[in-house]
């Protein structure tokens, strides 16, 4: 009991420090770094939610782009001011219902999440009732449909022109705050009795069902929780980049999320977060190789798309030769950290004492 409370205190202290750091970063960091950190949090949410479905429940969903798009458009439409909407919708007028609708950021994010979850339920219901494999194709197809709809439903989405001038409410507290909520819910869920049932479904559907686990219910639960947070992350994204159009949400996004999650370790939330942050930062750091740069008098033409080639090669190598990824299925824990340091301290002393005895 004492040990548990120590860990609680550590977590609490860590969160406090972390929040203070976020506030400091938000006030003093330059916008470029803030943007990268925000993206880290958003991609982490994507990876964690994908891991819930993929790593813990054994289902394959490729709909992240579509669900993020739903969240993004909902949040954009609910946070844009009536004046901005008028500016945006100059080709065709916006639907009257949406014209003057404007809500504070928090409720719009909740609605973004619920909207994505609702659509997720409609897609997964037929797909999951049958063979789980079809979820992959149904969700991938869905994220392509969503793009078709976004382009064609001009009076809601402003078509291919997209939406501009979204307020940009997202800051580090919002993005990392939601990541923490997402991690909390996901971690508690996968450690609960429901999570055990999900893992059982992942390991062996036939045996899980024979032990009384309702397959459909548990797959659906994992999928909907995932959709909700993807929707929220989409909302955060829209309010981070301020301009969205259907091209932002290409199915490539889903492939990237698969890659990040596999590299972090299927079944490790810590791994998902670390991999998502590394991915975002490396992608930024490697930007130069895609644009022309000069060394002395030599001009090297950049190769557009090279970063993604590298990423997909690494991904394939990880899948083939290092299936565990960064973290396997282990998580960061305070006990783990303390043991790690104790071991490092003990090891040298152990050797030296052995040396003196002999």
């Amino acid at each position: 009991m004492k040990k548990i409370s120590r860990n609680h205190i550590l977590t609490f202290a860590f969160l406090l420090v972390f929040i203070v750091l976020l506030i400091l970063a938000q006030s003093f960091l330059n916008p470029y770094y803030k943007r990268i950190l925000n993206l880290c949090a958003i991609y982490s949410i994507f990876a964690v939610t994908f891991n819930l479905v993929f790593g813990y429940t054994g289902q394959f969903s490729l709909g992240h782009a579509g669900f993020a798009a739903i969240g993004a458009y909902i949040s954009a439409l609910l946070t844009l001011s009536p004046e901005q909407k008028a500016v945006n919708f100059f080709l065709q007028p916006i639907l009257p219902v949406l014209e003057n609708l404007q809500l504070p950021f928090f409720p719009t994010l909740i609605i973004s999440g619920l909207g994505a979850a609702l659509v997720g339920a409609l897609i997964a219901w037929p797909a999951l009732r049958l063979r789980g494999d079809y979820l992959a194709i149904a969700t991938l197809g869905f994220s392509e449909i969503i793009r078709v709809l976004l382009v064609n439903m001009q009076r809601v989405t402003n078509g291919a022109l997209g939406l501009k001038g979204i307020p940009g409410h997202t800051n580090l507290l919002w993005s990392w705050g939601w990541l923490i909520v997402c991690l909390f819910v996901t971690k508690r869920l996968v450690d609960s009795s429901y999570g055990r049932a999900m893992k059982a479904v992942r390991d062996d559907e036939v045996a899980a069902e024979a032990l009384g686990v309702n397959l459909f219910k548990h797959k659906m639960m994992a999928f909907l929780v995932s959709c909700f947070f993807v929707g929220v992350a989409g909302g955060l994204l829209a309010n981070l980049i301020s301009t969205i159009d259907p091209k932002v949400f290409q199915f490539f996004l889903a492939y990237q999320i698969v890659g990040i999650t596999v590299m972090g370790g299927m079944g490790s939330l810590t791994g998902s977060v670390i991999a998502a942050c590394l991915y975002t930062i490396f992608l930024e750091a490697l930007r130069p190789i895609e644009s022309q740069f000069t060394i002395g008098s030599l001009t090297i033409p950049g190769i557009p798309g090279m970063r993604m080639v590298l990423f997909s090669i690494i991904l394939l190598l990880v899948i083939l030769f290092y299936r565990k990824g960064l973290m396997g299925n282990s998580e960061f824990t305070w006990d783990g950290l303390i043991n790690f340091f104790n071991k490092r301290k003990k090891k040298p002393t152990g050797y030296s004492s052995g040396g003196t005895q002999s």
């Binding site: 819910v185 508690r188 869920l189 609960s192 009795s193 429901y194 055990r196 049932a197 893992k199 059982a200 992942r202 390991d203 062996d204 036939v206 045996a207 899980a208 069902e209 024979a210 032990l211 009384g212 686990v213 309702n214 397959l215 639960m221 079944g267 299925n329």
Partner: protein, 257 residues
């Protein structure tokens, strides 16, 4: 004696192939009954029909008078039928104790939200599940493996763990699909004693599949013999051993010794 499970003219066809043909039988509460037959005779298909993995093409499966044919497997488990599999199907990503308490999940009262929020009700239920799981493991002599990976257990213990997991669902009827498969004769004998032990200890009814006749001869008071999807004999071991149909179909005409 009350009838716990009743199969009424159960037929299962796959396309043109009839795997089970008009199979009827009754299993009485508290008994230990064996279903034997050569490979491919339709034994596992019967189990799959009883547990809802297959819907019978014709006929009915009644549990305590209630029709369960065509119901979803997890619902049938909830009604009191648990099973093991011929090829061991443990959850590799869960430890031994967790493997067992997955079987308790269907009795969980707390909803997902209160589980995530760790409300007192859920905390109590979780604690109870773990305690019951440990007690169950202890009663089967598996408690010192509780926190190990299931794949690290010796083969025979993995078989026992599968049985433990099925018992965790609090079944009235336990179906064991070739529990002694792949075991040496001595180990198989030990396992059969183990099965007798749980029959008593948990106040169960057990219906088990075996394809080696001698394994069940000693311990099962009643044996049903199936060949080519049809029941060819039913009765005490002595009756089965002397039944001409069984000797011909099962042991093979020349194999009298």
């Amino acid at each position: 004696m009350t009838i716990l499970l009743k199969l009424e003219a159960v037929t299962k066809r796959f396309g043109g192939l009839t795997a089970v043909n008009k199979f009827s039988t009754e299993i009485h509460a508290g008994e230990l009954c064996a279903l034997i037959g050569p490979n491919g005779s339709g034994k596992t298909t019967i189990f799959n029909v009883i547990t809802g993995i297959y819907t019978p093409t014709e006929g009915q499966v009644l549990l305590g008078g209630e029709d369960v044919s065509g119901k979803r497997p997890d619902l049938i488990t909830g009604m009191g039928i648990a099973r093991t599999f011929q090829n061991i199907r443990l959850f590799k990503g869960l430890n031994v104790l967790e493997n067992v308490i997955v079987g308790k999940h269907l009795r969980l009262q707390s909803d997902p939200l209160s589980s995530v929020l760790h409300l007192p009700k859920y905390q109590n239920e979780e604690k109870e599940m773990r305690e019951q799981g440990l007690v169950l493991l202890e009663s089967l002599g598996l408690d010192h493996f509780a926190y190990d990976e299931p794949t690290s257990l010796p083969y025979g213990q993995q078989r026992k763990l599968e049985i433990a997991r099925a018992l965790a669902t609090n079944p009235r009827l336990l179906l064991l699909d070739e529990p002694a498969a792949g075991m040496s004769p001595t180990d198989a004998e030990g396992l059969m004693k183990f099965i007798l032990h749980i029959l008593d200890y948990f106040d169960l009814t057990i219906f088990l599949i075996e394809h080696q006749m001698r394994v069940v001869m000693g311990i099962c008071p009643r044996i049903i013999v199936i060949d080519h999807g049809e029941k060819i004999a039913e009765g005490s071991p002595e009756m089965i051993q002397n039944d001409q149909h069984v000797i011909e179909a099962y042991l093979g005409v020349s194999d009298h010794a």
